[in-house]
């Protein structure tokens, strides 16, 4: 079941992240992108890019698509959708660039447990993934679109792991948590899923957590970011990093 074009035109539904109101309070320029209201910047994309390079920036990445694949046959189902990708071990991430044959679209396959893989991908891949992950084989495997259930924030920059050390006991040093690692743990007293997917040389951690905690977690991250010399950044600054 999907939204028909007619429905869309008649009702013009807008998608907002859990931190929408917080962005407005910070004076963000909200722009529609991929069907979502997203902050382009909070005043100056240049200043934000500087924060990212020198200290850290936090960016709302809630619009990303997230699928969970559970069951004994989780590996097999994922392999069907991503035939050329290796399957990660528990705690590892494999990134598929140009997923679904779409240039610029990427998907990260994160193995959270023996029988649980989450796929975090570009917003626009939702339909392609939903179709690909349908399984009527009757085997023990199940996939579910949990994009709406999780809010996400990207914590990027040289100071990123320092921010994480303020809100979590998880060891995020380079030695214990190098690039392309994933883990679930407690962050600011709530459950969170952490993915490390560096942007070139720049450390980048994606933190996903229950959408209901959006405003609470954003406040905790903004406070911690300030201590580390960082600030909220919009997608324009993040895009600059992706090159």
């Amino acid at each position: 079941m999907s939204i028909t074009a007619q429905n869309q035109a008649q009702f013009n539904p807008i998608r907002r992240s859990a931190m929408h109101h917080k962005h407005l309070l910070l004076g963000a320029l909200m722009v529609e992108r991929d069907g979502w209201q997203q902050p382009a910047h909070f005043g100056s994309a240049e200043a934000e890019a500087k924060h990212l390079r020198e200290a850290l920036g936090i960016c709302d990445i809630s619009p990303r698509t997230k699928f969970v694949i559970k069951g004994d046959k989780a590996e097999q189902l994922v392999s069907r959708v991503f035939p050329t990708a290796l399957i990660p071990d528990v705690g590892e991430i494999i990134v598929e660039a140009h997923a679904g044959g779409i240039h610029g679209a990427n998907a990260a396959l994160c193995r959270l447990a023996q029988d649980e893989i989450i796929c975090v991908a570009t917003t626009g891949l939702a339909t392609w993934l939903a179709d690909g992950l349908k399984d009527d084989s009757g085997q023990c495997v199940h996939s579910l679109d949990i994009s709406s259930a999780l809010a996400g924030v990207s914590i990027a920059g040289p100071q990123a792991s320092h921010l994480l050390a303020m809100i979590s006991e998880l060891n995020t040093s380079d030695a214990a948590f190098p690039n392309l690692c994933c883990a679930q743990s407690k962050f600011a007293d709530i459950h969170g899923t952490l993915l490390r997917i560096d942007l070139g040389n720049l450390p980048n951690y994606q933190l996903y957590f229950g959408r209901e905690f959006g405003e609470y977690m954003w406040d905790a991250l903004v406070e911690a970011a300030e201590v580390c010399g960082g600030a909220p950044v919009g997608f324009e600054a993040m895009d600059q990093l992706q090159g």
């Binding site: 528990v90 705690g91 959270l112 447990a113 023996q114 649980e116 006991e169 998880l170 883990a183 679930q184 743990s185 407690k186 709530i190 459950h191």
Partner: protein, 82 residues
């Protein structure tokens, strides 16, 4: 209390990431006597020594597993999948 518990999936974590699930008990079969059932509902071994108990990694992988914990020294001997 902030000791480390080794989740079989995620590795060693602070015990605050977990939820204690109680002493491991065995559920009587459906044709057992009422006394068997009442013992199962309300009695516990509560040993001063190594106890098999349930833990859930609530702030992590959310899976259930067993720990063998010495209730006197609070040392964990082993953690294992059920």
């Amino acid at each position: 209390m902030a000791f480390l518990l080794n989740c079989p999936n995620c590795g060693e974590r602070n015990v605050h990431e977990f939820r204690f699930g109680g002493e491991a008990t065995s559920r009587p079969t459906p044709n057992s006597t009422p006394d068997d059932w009442i013992r199962y509902f309300y009695n516990r071994g509560n040993v001063a020594g190594v106890q098999r108990e349930w833990w859930n990694h609530r702030y992590g992988c959310r899976k259930w597993f067993f720990a063998l914990r010495d209730t006197v020294s609070n040392q964990i001997q082993e953690t294992l999948w059920p």
